[in-house]
Symmetry: C2
């Protein structure tokens, strides 16, 4: 889709939260496939894996989004997660709610997307949450999304005036392999995406953390060659 195509005035707008990971890239592909003019948004929250932000910008351009916005909010000022603090990211999968859980992260991200959607007069926010591989995160559950949608209707001028903003979660019930197959069919270049919690400055993955584990397993189960660039020491 060329830039000109996306600027058709009759086209409905949407906001896509685009972290730069595999899930959000697939989510953008779905929104594009449904015909929306996509306004992508990344949040620079002081995450340790800065490579995500670079990936997000590249993906937005490569996938023909109308524009890309990076919102800055330093969650390190609040603290409480291995993704922003100096807590070690575990190399093995954990039980329960992981230390990589960032307090209220999706609530904050969706709130910002909500403000942006209202300003753009967009009625859809796409977010690539899924409850299958991220069952440990409270803010990846359908009941959370439902509660946010309910809030969005009450919180905004748009909602009060009868143009409610809905939260679209096309990946909610898919496992990693299904997500990869979906994105592959929609032409996502997964080599541009970064999932690793400890990616290096070139965006190369560690191959050992929780997130790498899920991603590798996903490509294997999908029967699709893994295009992920890994760090040299990866066995």
């Amino acid at each position: 889709m060329s830039k000109d195509d996306t600027q058709d005035n009759n086209q409905e707008k949407c906001v896509v939260l685009l972290s730069g990971g595999l899930d959000s890239a697939t989510c953008l592909a779905v929104a594009r496939d449904q015909g929306y003019a996509c306004h992508t948004m990344a949040v620079d929250y002081g995450q340790r894996h800065r490579a995500e932000l670079t990936a997000s910008e590249k993906l937005s351009r490569a996938m023909g989004a109308v524009d890309h916005k990076v919102l800055h909010i330093d969650l390190r000022q609040i603290g409480g997660s291995a993704l922003t603090d100096d807590i070690d990211v575990p190399q093995q999968r954990e039980q329960g709610i992981p230390v990589t859980y960032v307090p209220a992260r999706n609530t904050i991200f969706l709130s910002m997307a909500l403000a942006y959607a209202e300003t753009l007069d967009a009625q859809r926010i796409f977010i690539g949450v899924n409850q299958v591989d991220y069952s440990g995160y409270p803010d990846c559950r359908p009941e959370f999304i439902q509660a946010f949608e309910n809030l969005a209707q009450l919180a905004t001028k748009a909602g009060v005036e009868g143009r409610p903003i809905t939260i679209e979660t096309p990946l909610l019930t898919l496992n990693k392999a299904q997500i990869i197959r979906l994105g592959h069919d929609l032409g996502v270049d997964y080599s541009l995406t970064v999932s690793c919690y400890q990616a290096d400055v070139h965006g190369r993955a560690c191959g050992r953390c929780d997130s790498c584990h899920y991603r590798k397993k996903g490509f294997a189960e999908a029967g699709i060659a893994d295009p992920t660039p890994y760090q040299p020491q990866h066995g």
Copy 2:
């Protein structure tokens, strides 16, 4: 209350959203009066009336809060309000939802307070919203607060683990005069607060905007002398 008193380990913690205005200062006084160790938070969202942020810090110190945090998030990147954009602030009261409405502002502020509360292990967030004088703002209504509290329970590790974080709105049904009387009884120094949308660098109010109108009327109705510093040109 001295700093040492507030650091009693048995004291329950709370987060207070402290904008630096009359309402939030009163809200902090109520939280303090209820015996909480208060952690105040202001949000620097690129508001045009920067005097608010200075007022917030002074109030936090004067009222014996445990600490004060300023979170930076530039909502001008999103736009859509006379409080952050170059839209003129109206001098007269408006009908419907005012142009000073910032898209999803309270949703964003509460989301950040939620992350902070979870990190502190605080179970209460105080916010000085009221539906009487701000009936035009969708995110000052009790149904909005109820929806956010519902979301908070589902969104957080604390909520999932049975320590739900509640939203306390002690001013919700009070009018301005009642708020002023309450704060006056609790010892709030209102000369430190800034309500004006167009306060100057010294924190002096314009005396003409929507917010000044409500404030003046409040002091008059409460029968309490208005300690607000006004700009010289004020008639």
